[in-house]
């Protein structure tokens, strides 16, 4: 991860402190996991929106398979793992996070950043349909138990003849019940009694991190933007997710905030002269993590937001905070709101990959306005049908509202799905179009 968190431009101030923090949070994660295992802690594999704060209240050490695969990809080491999984029987046209992970299982758990301990528990959730297949695969290799947290998925249903609030209460009770069963599972796994105060303290830390995170991601509204939402933002997010609900996480984000404030004070950003501001939809192409944003930087374009920034705050409301006076219920709400029609999806935000119908188009327009963006880049990922399965459709609808959109196709982990020349051509053409559009607009303003 080292090279990824360096500022992309000599104009930005040094980021050594943040870099070290991210390094310890992400790079040393496996070494920390082994230390935890030696102390007798149990290892749980969970996905990035899983019930992290709850698991941590049992001293369970967390390994994030998605982050592990992303690390392989960012270090340009994922392909041999993916190919190992393909030799075993996995198809190239499925999720490469999963196939990279299977490659790890088939490589005696030897990850480029260290050996990964096997799980004592897999925490499955139903955010995406691949998760539960992935959990079953992990179980097949490691013979460990799975706990499944089933999120009710309610589409935007405002026109339906029923009481949405009553339904919400029913759904919340369903999730609370599952959380209580998860608590019993964790008690049995660890031999530790559930400590509500400790859980509440973790939620409090998560609240503080959430508030800091929301401040950070809004700072790209400054001109120039103090950081690139893809190049630097995803690193910040990796650290924030890994450290969620911890004191270290709070310190980590405070450092990032301080660093960014310093850049704002100096008036510097990722490029010497910011000419264009763009939104990035979907996850990055980790095997070419620097290359793609830098192609935009060359034209003076900076990414100012990605909806994936909602991940450290559970992907729902901006500034959604846990209510510490009713921790289990509030926790259930945060786990389920991402997919619930009751979620008002207040702007400026956009739920990743989730098409509830209609509101998402307005939300993207509001994001454009909030961040003063000139266009949107949709990154359609081979691996992730949830994130990118509707991007081409959105391109149709959002472009009709006058928004300049570029659609790129590649993958989160598999480098074979990236074509540098083709990507560069498309980016160059898009940036030329944006420049022309800007020129014409300034000329028409001048004439007026």
């Amino acid at each position: 991860m080292k090279e990824q968190i360096q500022s992309s431009s000599p104009t930005a101030p040094p980021t050594e402190g943040v870099r070290q923090e991210t390094k310890s949070a992400v790079k040393d994660a496996f070494a920390d996991a082994w230390l935890a295992k030696e102390r007798g802690a149990k290892i749980c594999y969970t996905y990035v929106l899983g019930p992290i704060e709850l698991l941590r209240s049992f001293d369970i050490h967390l390994v994030f398979p998605e982050i592990s695969s992303a690390q392989m990809a960012a270090k340009k080491t994922a392909l041999p793992y993916i190919q190992k999984a393909e030799d075993y029987g996995y198809a190239a046209d499925t999720c490469s996070y999963v196939t990279a992970d299977v490659g790890l299982y088939l490589s005696d758990m030897k990850h480029p950043l260290g050996r990964v301990p096997t799980p004592d528990l897999v925490l499955n959730d139903t955010l995406c349909n691949t998760y539960y297949k992935w959990s079953e695969i992990t179980q097949d290799f490691h013979k460990c138990p799975i706990f499944t947290l089933d999120h009710p998925v309610r589409m935007a249903r405002k026109n339906y003849p029923y009481d949405l609030e009553a339904l919400y209460r029913e759904d919340r009770a369903y999730v609370v019940d599952q959380i209580e069963r998860l608590i019993a599972t964790c008690e049995q796994l660890t031999g530790q009694k559930f400590d509500m105060d400790r859980f509440r303290a973790n939620l409090d830390l998560a609240n503080r991190m959430g508030a800091l995170w929301c401040e950070i991601i809004d700072k790209t509204r400054n001109r120039p933007s103090p950081f690139d939402a893809v190049l630097e933002g995803y690193n910040y997010m990796g650290g924030a997710t890994t450290l969620k609900g911890t004191e270290e996480g709070v310190v980590y984000l405070e450092k990032i905030k301080g660093d960014i404030d310093q850049r704002i004070e100096m008036g510097v950003g990722p490029v010497p002269e910011e000419k264009f501001r763009l939104l990035w939809m979907s996850a990055p192409c980790y095997p070419y993590f620097r290359k793609i944003p830098e192609m935009f930087h060359k034209a003076g374009a900076v990414f100012v937001y990605t909806p994936q920034f909602m991940q450290p705050t559970r992907g729902t409301y901006r500034m959604q905070q846990y209510d510490l006076s009713r921790p289990l219920e509030s926790y259930a709400e945060c786990l389920m709101d991402y997919f619930h029609a009751r979620n008002p999806r207040k702007p400026p935000q956009w739920s990743m990959g989730w098409v509830g119908g209609g509101g998402e188009i307005d939300n993207q327009l509001q994001l454009m306005e909030h961040f003063g963006a000139d266009g949107i880049v949709y990154h359609a990922i081979k691996s992730c049908r949830m994130n990118s399965g509707s991007l081409a459709d959105f391109r149709e609808h959002v472009s009709r509202r006058g928004v300049s959109i570029l659609m790129l196709e590649s993958d989160i982990a598999d480098p074979r799905f990236f074509s540098e020349a083709q990507t560069r051509n498309r980016i160059d053409a898009f940036m030329e179009g944006l420049a022309e559009k800007k020129l014409l607009r300034s000329q028409s303003v001048g004439h007026a």
């Binding site: 499925t94 097949d140 499944t148 009710p152 309610r154 369903y174 098409v355 049908r385 081409a392």
Partner: protein, 394 residues
């Protein structure tokens, strides 16, 4: 008055083939026009609570993509490259007006593409109903069962919103009864095919099932009875084919030629996952008591295992295929999965490993609903059939 002559097997199959290849859905349109106030509600594979649409006085209409005859022109504009074909052709059906008579659509939680398609449908066809059917991943009665019951209740409310009439418990019970009959007849045909695969070709069985997706269930029951009567009266030549189970065709549909090619290559298909909604429940759904709770319970405890469905019990994982092989005296399994199908392709290696442990031969290939080149598949399946005959101890 002379009795109406009994239809021959060929007549029945021809009628069914005409029904399933008709992408204007003329039969469903006619049904709707016969009586004012009728509704037609589409549903995608692999499972949907058809009984509720029927109880609302509606016609559940299976939308299983555009097949190999539909040229997808508009649909490709709504999807990037790495997406399977069924959502593209479904959109094509929508934007070309072929579904203009459909009042609402149900999208089951089979995968992320279909989940998102439910939202895209709302944006593209704002005057039509679009409902995502969230199936439980928790199989405990008072948790996942309660949740699913609530989902079914909400589906009833949604349907009532279209008809302006509430759906009574008695109406749901009556609908469950008629669908129980449908499932019984289909199970009977499956059993007959397993016993005498030379008499019940899978290409015939497939079109019989597909026809049932576009006509009222009562009509389908009549056709199924006629087919059973007809096929029992005839004897077709038995071939020295290998008996195989097909796995992977639960969502995007195979071209009919693909099924024929597998059969022509020397395989008798003795079990499969074609049109699972027609036999999702393994036995009759109970009629006594709360009908929604009965449907929920049948889903949780008495439904088919298939790649998109989460299996919470590791010990049972994949055993349904082994059971199917044993029960149907099959000699091997053909995995035929759709390109870009996450649930199928991520499940396949686990299933292959289970089969391997049980010494069951297998092959795998991929297809799309518009696959045109059957020769490689015929060669692969033929070689598999030959290898079973030559070397398998089965």
């Amino acid at each position: 008055m002379l009795d109406k002559p009994k239809p021959t097997t060929a007549d029945i199959v021809k009628k069914c083939e005409d029904l399933f290849t008709d992408l204007s859905f003329a039969a469903a349109r006619e049904w709707k026009e016969e009586k004012p106030g009728r509704i037609v509600v589409g549903f995608l594979p692999y499972y949907a609570p058809r009984e509720l649409v029927h109880a609302a006085g509606g016609l559940p209409l299976g939308i299983f993509g555009g097949g190999d005859q539909l040229e997808v022109i508009h649909g490709d504009a709504y999807y990037q490259s790495y997406i399977c074909r069924i959502p593209r052709s479904t959109i094509e059906l929508g934007v070309t007006g072929r579904l203009d008579f459909v009042d609402g659509m149900m999208f089951p939680s089979i995968c992320d593409v279909i989940r998102n398609l439910s939202g895209m449908w709302k944006i593209m066809f704002p005057t039509k109903g679009s409902r995502y059917i969230d199936l439980p991943h928790n199989f405990v009665d008072d948790l996942g069962g309660e949740f699913y019951r609530s989902e079914l209740k909400e589906t009833c409310d949604w349907l009532s919103g279209m008809t302006g009439r509430p759906i009574t418990d008695d109406a749901i019970r009556a609908s469950i009864a008629v669908f129980n009959e449908n499932r019984r007849l289909i199970r009977e045909i499956y059993q007959l095919r397993s016993d005498q695969p030379w008499n019940v070709p899978s290409s015939e069985l497939y079109v019989l099932l597909r026809a049932g997706m576009v006509i009222p269930v009562e009509d389908h029951n009549r056709i199924l009875r006629e087919y059973l009567d007809s096929v029992r009266e005839q004897t077709r030549p038995m071939k020295d084919n290998s008996r195989v189970v097909i796995c992977g065709m639960f969502c995007e549909q195979p071209p009919l030629n693909l099924i024929k090619s597998i059969e022509l290559s020397g395989c008798y298909i003795v079990d499969d996952d074609f049109i699972l909604v027609t036999r999702w429940e393994n036995s009759d759904v109970r009629l006594e008591g709360d009908p929604l709770a009965n449907l929920a319970s049948a889903y949780l405890h008495d439904s088919k295992s298939t790649p998109p469905k989460y299996e919470p019990d590791e010990a049972k994982k994949g055993l349904y295929l082994v059971d199917s092989v044993r029960k149907n005296r099959a000699e091997g399994v053909i995995f035929a999965m759709t390109s870009f199908c996450d649930p199928g392709l991520l499940e396949r290696p686990i299933l292959q490993s289970v089969l391997k442990k049980h010494g069951i031969p297998q092959i795998a290939f991929k297809y799309a609903e518009n696959s045109g080149q059957m020769q490689p598949i015929r060669e692969q399946a033929g070689t598999f059939a030959d290898s079973i005959k030559l070397w398998s101890g089965a």
